[in-house]
Symmetry: C2
Subunit: 203 residues, 2 copies
């Protein structure tokens, strides 16, 4: 399919890369405070090109959200590898999350979705829907692993997998918010550890 060369002048950019650069801008500034000039500068595309390829600012933002959702779900799925213990799975999830949220130790930006999409969720229905769907998918992925854990005796028989999964997500939501609020890596790692202990039968 790729070999079918399109007619006309070829694009001088890679759409995926551009969305990634745009994501960085939105991540730092939020949707509303990110101007098309900011985006144009970061992507090195002038506005008409941005429009032609991605539509208006909201469309582009939705693309970045969608990309983040996919990336996150991939990482989550990998961390949930069922050949490992549930404890190890959760430890990995939180570790991967903090890798993203802290972004190089200094400039902590938290979760892209929770940090920027929540603010727009009231005014922009499409944003709220992406946010909602993303949170649900994360819950769902963890829930499946929990169900397996119950089957395999890692968790008690009477465990409510769906609910426990939501609590596991809750710890991640908290890490997301706290990272953006400027909490230190150490603090966040401690929360992650205690979250794991707590969910995998504590004390």
């Amino acid at each position: 399919m790729k070999s079918e060369k399109k007619q006309g002048r070829p694009r001088a950019f890679d759409a995926k890369a551009v969305i990634g650069q745009a994501r960085e801008v939105f991540w730092d500034r939020g949707f509303s405070a990110a101007s098309l000039d900011n985006l144009s500068a970061a992507t090195k595309l002038n506005r008409p090109s941005l429009y032609g390829a991605f539509g208006d600012k909201e469309d582009l933002y939705l693309d970045t959200l969608e990309g983040y959702r996919e990336d996150s779900l991939d990482i989550l799925s990998e961390a949930l590898n069922p050949t490992l213990t549930l404890r190890e799975n959760l430890t990995r999830i939180y570790a991967e999350a903090l890798k993203i949220y802290l972004h190089g130790e200094t400039a902590a930006r938290g979760c892209f979705l929770i940090g920027t999409a929540t603010a727009e969720a009231i005014q922009h229905d499409r944003v709220r829907e992406v946010l909602r769907r993303s949170l649900n998918e994360f819950d769902g992925a963890i829930k499946e692993r929990m169900e397996l854990a119950v089957e395999q005796g890692e968790l008690p028989d009477n465990t409510d997998a769906a609910t426990l999964a939501k609590l596991a997500s809750a710890v991640m939501h908290s890490l997301a918010v706290r990272a953006r609020a400027g909490d230190t890596r150490g603090t966040l790692e401690a929360i992650a550890r205690s979250g794991v202990d707590f969910i995998c039968g504590r004390l």
Copy 2:
């Protein structure tokens, strides 16, 4: 002190009330997307009056955050009444939180701080500081109650009160995000219940 009448034309508005009306605007739209026209319309003050009384948009926003922080802390303190059981305390905290987050069953707006301040936290240091301080104060208030619970035998002796408090907060952070993402009251209440069960010795 109030009797010391200031010279000059008296204000035709109540500052606290205006801050409350401005909060509503910021709550729905976020800081960046809220225009001075929006704020002016909602408060029924023209821009020069807003500037004279509160400074620029960021100053006003910080005032609304501060007011929310104080209100929330008051509600939290009340809910943490130590003559009740810890379980009852937590149940109340989450119930009060949902009362605020859901705001009349239909238009769920989540937590004002988490829903709007997180987005600005990277670019605006003062916003980040208010957010950080608020989260820490909430954690601290719950922690104190947890320590009492340990003393009184409601929680095991080896309980790490600070960490457990952060987990209790984590459930609230999750409610805050999910409410703004559009989750139903029923879903959120279920999470709150399981959070209580989980923290107050579960299974």
